[in-house]
Amino acid sequence: MLPDNAGYAYAAYAAAITVFTVYAVSVWWRGRALAARIRRASDGPRTGTSSRAD
């Protein structure tokens, strides 16, 4: 008779998916923050504000 321990396997797969997702979101989030920084810096001269004010 097989041991009843499928819960551990489900938990492991859920953990792996969570780690991948969290890491991918962190890359996306940092990219978004960097894009915002570039936009602010390049808009600076047109609006008369400096990026260093951020």
Binding site: N5, A12, Y13, A16, F20, V27, G31, L34, P45, R52
Partner: protein, 264 residues
């Protein structure tokens, strides 16, 4: 993983301190390319990797036999082992080799590759360290054992974490790259030790069943699933590394621009 088209040129700061990738239409095009890449950091390869991962999970769940003595928990094997192999022999090996080459050639791209490989490798090692105890509990009867394989893997995880923290702490780019390259090489020296730890010490952790001189000790169906999982994890690694490298390239350009602005 090559240079990002349109962004590998010297940025400069304009008179008001605004960061630019260059003046005129070329600068606008470079900035546009950078912003496009930042808005879609992952690209088609990541979607291929996600589809492969879903397909892999389906194969593991429905088309791979359950091991008789360990039960369904043995299926953790198909993520634990590929994650470990990808982290140790791909990510951290790449980090160490890129760091050695950086100290030799002083090319900032190599430092960037090392940083990105370390970060992605840390994510994979986290999966190893989380799935390991979840497999150990039903099979060994304990979540953790202080044996050489487990402890040295945890130690490597901490060193890579320290490596990434060190990178945040040193402001000067060349100094940061040099210090972190040394730490990365030292971390890389742990890889053969971790691999051999199950032979050198008495451990609860089993000896390799695939990466060993003789033939893999697995039934063919399980071996096929393991190979598919390994290919999937390599795809995931390449997709994440590619996205992270793009981000690092653009971040370095912005940092260069900010530094030259401070120096003015």
């Amino acid at each position: 993983m090559g240079a990002i088209a349109g962004t590998e040129r010297s940025p400069r700061l304009d008179a008001s301190g605004g960061l630019l990738f260059g003046g005129g239409p070329e600068g606008d095009a470079a900035r546009g390319a950078a912003l496009r890449q930042l808005s879609r950091p992952f690209g088609w390869l990541a979607w291929v990797a996600v589809v492969a991962f879903i397909g892999d999970c389906v194969r593991i769940a429905y088309f791979t036999p359950i091991e008789a003595s360990q039960g369904p928990a043995q299926k953790i094997f198909y993520i634990h082992v590929p994650a470990a192999i990808t982290a140790l022999y791909l990510a951290f090996a790449l980090m160490a080799v890129a760091s050695v080459l950086y100290l030799w050639l002083r090319d900032p791209k190599l430092d960037r590759v090392a940083e990105c490989a370390a970060e992605v490798g840390l994510a994979f090692t986290t999966i190893v360290l989380v799935t390991g105890p979840l497999w150990a509990k039903p099979v060994w009867g304990t979540w953790w054992s202080g044996d050489a394989r487990l402890t040295s893997t945890l130690f490597l995880w901490l060193i890579i974490l320290a490596y990434l923290i060190l990178r945040q702490a040193v402001e000067d780019r060349a100094q940061r790259a040099r210090y972190s390259a040394v730490l990365a090489i030292l971390a890389g020296l742990l890889i053969p030790f971790i691999h051999l730890s199950v032979y050198l010490f008495r451990t609860l952790h089993p000896q390799p069943i695939v990466l060993k001189p003789s033939a893999p000790s697995l039934p063919s169906e399980m071996l096929t699933t393991l190979m598919i999982s390994f290919a999937t994890f390599v795809l995931l690694f390449v997709a994440l590394l590619r996205a992270r490298y793009r981000l690092a390239t653009i971040a370095d350009l912005v940092e260069d621009g900010a530094s030259s602005g401070r120096a003015d």
